[in-house]
Amino acid sequence: MHSNRHDTPLTLAGRTYQSRLLVGTGKYKDLDETRRAIEASGAEIVTVAVRRTNIGQNPGEPNLLDVIPPDRYTILPNTAGCYDAVEAVRTCRLARELLDGHSLVKLEVLADQKTLFPNVIETLKAAETLVKDGFDVMVYTSDDPIIARQLAEIGCIAVMPLAGLIGSGLGICNPYNLRIILEEATVPVLVDAGVGTASDATIAMELGCDAVLMNTAIAHAQDPVLMGEAMKHAIVAGRMAYLAGRMPRKLYASASSPLEGLIN
């Protein structure tokens, strides 16, 4: 399906990607389901978390990076679970070592376990340190257009506002804020979090987002592999509709069949 012939590829940190869908690897039943759902989604960028190894437990068990090999996928390590800038920066440095100097990271500094809302003050601090340290920072943030602008000014390579709370599946809760962020964007804007089903992803793309990052919408679907594929099409459909430019909304009807030549 080479439908995006008028499009330019997504570019992040100097690399181009055909897919505008980024996916997480959390919450799957097992590694095999993870692999199959991600393959079906067509995603080229895949997020992972960085955690302590389980000392003395099953050292031989299969590793996530065996099924999502870094030579095939761009691995995007996240700082999920970090609640201050210091922890987030430490996690990114460990991730860079883990991935042989790979500098692309997803920065997220959370504020609260109930909402997983970003702590934008700590996020700004961490972003500043990481950019100075040579990281290519894709940053999870609120849909506050001013914070989004500041994160881009600091030097983040992509700004990723939430469309809804992480894992909520509530969809695009505030399209108007996203529109404002998009209107003045100087770096790629990705919706990160909130997408629940394919139409949500399409709406995000129709708004003009450069890409969408999602995890739970695929992993917690009844059939994650099928939803992965649905999301692939949803992203393509939304992107094409955005490029095509939708018709204006009208209050009243406008007949599609000509009025001339009616039999009466």
Binding site: T53, I55, N78, A95, E97, L98
Partner: protein, 66 residues
């Protein structure tokens, strides 16, 4: 000597290096990253980084996440 490993006390023979620790943990050749007292220990320096009593080590790997 006793170090802190991923937040828990861990016993090691005196003079052990980061590489020795990874052997003990059966993690040699696995994709892990090591931090010692808040500083990254690059893979190339595992064999020459000697641990001392009271060191605080973190050994991490990649797992599923969003």
């Amino acid at each position: 000597m006793r170090i802190q490993l991923n937040g828990e006390p861990f016993e090691l023979p005196d003079g052990a290096t980061v590489a020795d620790l990874l052997v003990r943990l059966d993690l040699t050749g696995r994709r892990v990253a090591v931090e010692r007292n808040l500083d990254i220990v690059p893979r190339s320096q595992h064999a020459e980084t000697t641990l001392v009593d009271g060191d605080s080590l973190e050994v991490v790997h990649a797992i599923g996440g969003g």
